[in-house]
C-alpha cells in the first residue's frame, strides 16, 4: 500500500471507529479515498452497519425480556453486614 491508499484492514477498523467517534481529518480523508476505490470495503461498511442494527435490536429484545433491573434487597443487606 502506498502513502495515500490505506489498507483494507485499516479501512475496516476506521469504519468501526467512525460509528462511535469522530475520525481525525487525515483518517477521514484517507478512508474516503479508500472507499472510492474499494468495493469490498464499501460492502463491509454496509454489512457492518447492518450488524450494528442487528446487535442493537438483539440486545434491546434481550433487555426487554430479561434485562429489567432486578431488585435484590437481601443481597444488599448481606453485603452491608459484611463491610
Amino acid at each position: 500500500m502506498n502513502r495515500i491508499m490505506m489498507s483494507c484492514k485499516k479501512a475496516t477498523e476506521l469504519i468501526e471507529r467512525k460509528h462511535d467517534s469522530k475520525l481525525s481529518l487525515k483518517d477521514g480523508f484517507q478512508l474516503n479515498m479508500h472507499l472510492l476505490m474499494c468495493k469490498t470495503c464499501i460492502a463491509y461498511e454496509k454489512q457492518s452497519k447492518l450488524l450494528n442494527k442487528a446487535l442493537s435490536k438483539f440486545f434491546q429484545n434481550k433487555k426487554a425480556s430479561e434485562q429489567e433491573l432486578l431488585k435484590n434487597e437481601e443481597l444488599k443487606e448481606k453485603i452491608i453486614s459484611k463491610l
Partner: protein
C-alpha cells in the same frame, strides 16, 4: 474516622449500584447464587482496595471493572479453562481475523456475500437472530463482554476501556475483530 468514611461510601454504593451489578452478573452467569457471590465479592474487593479508587473514574465504572474481572475468572474456573487456554482462544480468533487479509492488509477474498442485501428481511428473521446469538457465543469471553457492554449497556468506548482494562487502540481492535468474526460466522451459518 477514615475507616468510617470508607464504610459509609461503600454502603452508599451498595444501595445505589448493587441491583445493576446483580442484574448484569445474573445475565452473564445465569445463576442467582453465582451472581450474588460475584457481586458480594466485588464490593469486598472495592472495600479492600478503596485507596486505589481515588475518584479517577466513576464509582459505577470502577465497580463494573471489578465485576467483569470476576465474571471472566468465574468462566475460567467453571470450564476449567486456564488463563493460558483463554489466551489461546483469543490468539486463535486474532489469527483467524488476520487471515481474512493478506500481508499488505488487502482482503483475501473480494467476494461479497449476498445475504446482507436484504436488510429488512434479515433483521426480522428469527433464525438470523438465533445465528447471531450462536456467533456471539463463539467470541472469546473478553470480546463478548466488550460487545455486550457496547450494545446492551450502551457504554461509551472510554467506559468500556476502563471496565475491561483496555487501551483505546486495543478497544478498537477488539471491536473490529469481533465484528469481523461475527460477519464470517453469520455468513458461514446463514443459508
Amino acid at each position: 474516622m477514615k475507616e468510617d468514611v470508607k464504610r459509609k461510601t461503600i454502603k452508599d454504593w451498595v444501595i445505589a449500584y448493587s441491583d445493576t451489578l446483580y442484574t448484569w452478573a445474573l445475565n452473564k452467569t445465569s445463576s442467582v447464587e453465582t451472581a450474588e457471590d460475584l457481586v458480594q465479592e466485588t464490593f469486598l474487593v472495592a472495600f479492600a482496595s478503596f485507596d486505589k479508587f481515588q475518584n479517577r473514574s466513576k464509582p459505577k465504572t470502577w465497580l463494573f471493572s471489578i465485576l467483569n474481572n470476576k465474571i471472566i475468572d468465574h468462566y475460567r474456573k467453571k470450564s476449567t479453562i486456564s488463563e493460558s487456554i483463554e489466551q489461546t482462544a483469543e490468539q486463535q480468533a486474532i489469527r483467524f481475523t488476520d487471515s481474512m487479509f493478506d500481508t499488505n492488509g488487502k482482503w483475501n477474498s473480494h467476494e461479497t456475500n449476498s445475504i446482507w442485501d436484504n436488510e429488512k428481511h434479515l433483521l426480522d428473521d428469527v433464525d438470523f437472530n438465533e445465528i447471531l446469538k450462536f456467533c456471539m457465543g463463539d467470541l472469546p469471553e473478553k470480546w463478548r463482554i466488550a460487545i455486550s457492554s457496547k450494545y446492551l449497556l450502551e457504554r461509551t468506548p472510554d467506559e468500556i476501556c476502563q471496565e475491561l482494562g483496555l487501551t483505546t487502540t486495543n478497544y478498537w481492535q477488539v471491536i473490529h475483530r469481533a465484528k469481523l468474526l461475527l460477519k464470517k460466522c453469520i455468513e458461514k451459518h446463514w443459508k
